[in-house]
């Protein structure tokens, strides 16, 4: 793992990987959303509004997977003191928050015609809103720290603590009766018909690749920032 501790080595891989992830993700998103919004059949009960899931579900997945990434990166930072782990966690936070916000907005837009309400304080919605606020807290903590290079220990601990919300989000529809429907897609089965499922899976893969590209771009920008600062400091001392 420490092979990538050397930023030059990391950049050597991240730089060529970024366009592949970005353009690959964009191609998959277009390939899923264009047929998903025009060709595939609507849902029998909800009608056309069900198509919003092609954005809503990937956004929900990335909002949660993003914090999962922050958890792993924070643990790696705390235990192995990997110099890039804190950078990775900080790079994930902003796109993670953005996708969580997209998930909440699209869910609200879908909820009005389906449930008859924009917002209800049900377990799933409340825990997802808490996730957004956790992201805001993480971003503020990381920005407030003096140790720019590897982010603060406090932010990493907050990243680990905040992960307790992930199982709560996941099980909120199982443990408590809620307005949000239970899980549609399991590991081996799906209660979404194949005709509606494939654009969902392709869009999820596409948004995930795009997320990866954004994270790599942000990591490269942060590393460049650190280098500029180090050089300026050396010049000031000389």
């Amino acid at each position: 793992m420490h092979a990538f501790a050397n930023p030059a080595r990391f950049l050597g891989i991240a730089r060529p990987l970024t366009p592949w992830l970005g353009w690959g993700g964009a191609a998959l998103i277009v390939g899923a959303l264009v047929p998903g919004l025009t060709v595939t059949p609507p849902d029998a009960v909800q009608g056309e509004s069900a198509r919003i899931m092609y954005v809503h579900v990937p956004a929900a997945w990335l909002g949660m997977a993003g914090w999962g990434g922050i958890l792993v990166a924070s643990l790696v930072q705390l235990i192995w003191r990997h110099p890039l782990a804190g950078v990775a966690a900080r790079a994930i936070a902003v796109p993670g928050a953005a996708f969580t916000a997209i998930c909440l907005v699209t869910g609200s837009l879908w909820g009005r015609p389906t449930w008859g309400t924009w917002w209800e304080w049900d377990g799933r919605m409340t825990s997802m809103l808490v996730l957004l606020f956790l992201y805001f807290g993480y971003i503020a903590l990381a920005a407030a720290s003096d140790e720019r290079a590897s982010t603060s220990r406090v932010a990493a601990i907050f990243g680990v603590l905040g992960a307790i919300n992930l199982p709560i989000i996941h099980y909120s529809v199982t443990w408590w009766n809620s307005l949000h429907q239970p899980q549609s897609i399991g590991l081996t089965s799906s209660s979404i018909d194949a005709a509606l499922l494939w654009p969902l899976l392709v869009a999820t893969a596409g948004f995930s690749l795009l997320f990866g590209a954004i994270v790599l771009m942000r990591m490269r920008a942060m590393i460049a920032d650190i280098r500029v600062e180090a050089r300026l400091r050396r010049m000031a001392e000389a």
Binding site: D43, A44, V45, L78, W115, N177, S191, L197
Partner: protein, 148 residues
């Protein structure tokens, strides 16, 4: 023990403690975090008339009756054997239909009818194209609902 392994053990202990704390908090929240009460829960723990609650369950088959004023509907929310009669005046969401989930906000009157001021439709986890839904008989749908 090397400092690295020491940190690993500490982090693992912290993770266990966090997860344990989370589950304890959830166990405490269990009843309060529920969005609504089901007819069976209300049968076991009745609520006094006039107190605002949310009632959730399935709209019983063939139970929706429209009153002559055109905006008031009567229907029955059921969960297994337990049934609660509900009256609602207003515009129900499109997905409000029989043999489908519903959440009603309101209070019981003195005669045990739930007077709802807001109705939310619940959607289930099944997504399918319209042609397939036509092929599926209502009994099959009911069967699936019961299995859940």
């Amino acid at each position: 023990m090397k400092p690295k392994n020491q940190r690993l053990v500490l982090a693992l202990l912290a993770l266990v403690a966090i997860i344990g704390a989370g589950f304890l908090a959830l166990a405490g929240l269990r009843d309060n975090a529920a969005l609504f009460r089901t007819p069976a829960e209300l049968a076991a723990n009745p609520v006094e008339p006039g107190r605002d609650i949310r009632l959730g369950g399935m709209v019983a088959a063939n139970s929706i009756r429209e009153a002559s004023d055109g905006v008031t509907i009567d229907f029955i929310v059921e969960e297994g054997e337990a049934r609660v009669p509900v009256r609602f005046t207003g515009i129900a969401p499109d997905l409000f239909r029989e043999s489908s989930g519903v959440v009603a906000e309101g209070a019981f009157d003195r005669r045990g009818t739930f007077i709802a001021h807001t109705i939310l439709a619940k959607h289930d986890e099944n997504y399918m194209p319209p042609q397939m839904a036509d092929m599926e008989t209502r009994d099959e749908r009911l069967q699936r609902t019961l299995e859940r």
